[in-house]
Symmetry: C2
Subunit: 229 residues, 2 copies
DNA sequence: CAGTATCCTATCCGATACTG
DNA sequence: CAGTATCGGATAGGATACTG
């Protein structure tokens, strides 16, 4: 391993820190705005708590994250990017752009992917374009384990959005149904959402206005606009 | 490890390939124009041949390198970047820019660093600005093991440059002496070369014209121009 | 909830030796 | 020279259980 004998090459030094397993994903989450242990945990479901703990410590020691006691009521720490950490954004983004352009290995999509996508989706929905009402959109992901199949996006009047794995007890204004494969293709921008809808791979039921404006409010992955080869 | 259960997140997929140990350095070399097994080997002295072999195979299977039989006389294969591989340049460069800006861990500089730097330096010297003559510059690196201390840059009439660990049997037109620490600082652009010379940390002996134009022909690391925080 | 400690296993890397 | 095969040891990550 490089670490045995640290190199003076800056690429080697940066790689020693950034390329540890799981670290790019942790950085992605931090750059997307996650701050709490369990925010990282649920966005990266496969990581074990011990490894996540170790990585957060390592990144803190490397000057990429800073620990601070929680702002408000909650206990536990918060993790915030330092200036150095923020400057890793281009590294992670370029990595993602490359991945979306060139990796064609088909992953076996499962519950972890569904969960990771949903938490990211929750972050990306654009409530600005939506009416200032409280309403619920149900997302159904076919072909994954039951526990990760049904999700509810709860839009609050104040523009905040919550994601639940249980029905939040309001009427569902819109239901969107597709297989995980279709969701992944749409989410990553491999396929325009209207093409999936018109092709019958994604089904919408409920409020017409929400249906017609789905492209505007649903918000895809930050990597979706990347041009393809 | 992420590999257990491949994710659909493009950052995770790219990371699975690019962030294996040694791979960023192998990519750096490929991007800088290395093609042969031993070019990689001597530019990354710490890697074991088995690991290098495995990585070159992995990168080929991932569609980043292509193996081809050697162009000219030599036996063995050549490794060339595919289009996908070439597009990793921004990832590696951003990694290096981050490293040069933010990593402050002092490496214990030794023979491997000296060798890696010298082979890179050989690639970066700009013979264009030099007279079309055959002449030799000796580089002396104080503070490293004897075997990596003395290097000779041999400039040929045709503009080609060779690097030797033995005196090539021509008169030395210029000798440049500094500790490895100073060489590293100058090479990486942490410190202007004239500052090191004027400060007495780098000593030049020989041809005045070569001395006066050293900044023009010596060619620093591609990362040297990176602005510092 | 927000992590940490322990233990065990799998893996992966380097050393060495070998081959066309 | 240009790699590849084998082997043994280190290490790092997951599972599990635990704590304030």
């Amino acid at each position: 391993m490089e670490d045995k004998d640290p190199q003076f090459c800056p690429i080697a030094q940066a790689a020693d820190i950034v390329t540890e397993s799981w670290t790019p994903l942790i950085l992605r989450e931090a750059l997307m705005g996650s701050h709490r242990f369990n925010e990282f945990k649920r966005a990266i479901p496969q990581i074990s708590p011990s490894t996540l703990s170790r990585r957060l410590t390592t990144l803190t020691e490397a000057g990429i994250l800073e620990k601070s006691s929680s702002r408000d009521d909650a206990r536990g720490l918060e993790y915030h990017l330092t200036e150095a950490g923020e400057e890793l954004r281009p590294v992670i983004i370029e990595l993602g752009k490359w991945g979306i352009r060139w990796v064609r290995r088909k992953a076996n999509l499962g519950k972890h992917d569904a969960a990771a996508m949903m938490w990211d989706m929750k972050r990306c929905v654009d409530a600005e374009v939506l009416p200032d009402e409280r309403f619920v959109v149900k997302i159904e992901i076919r072909g994954v384990e039951k526990r990760a199949r049904d999700w509810w996006l709860l839009f609050e009047e104040d523009g905040n959005t919550d994601l639940c794995l249980q029905p939040p007890g309001h009427d569902v204004a819109l239901k969107v149904v597709a297989t995980m494969e279709t969701w992944a293709d749409v989410w990553l921008g491999h396929r325009p959402i209207h093409e999936a809808i018109d092709g019958g791979d994604m089904r919408l039921e409920g409020d017409r206005l929400l249906q017609d404006s789905i492209e505007d409010w649903i918000g895809l992955s930050v990597l979706a606009p990347t041009p393809r080869p």
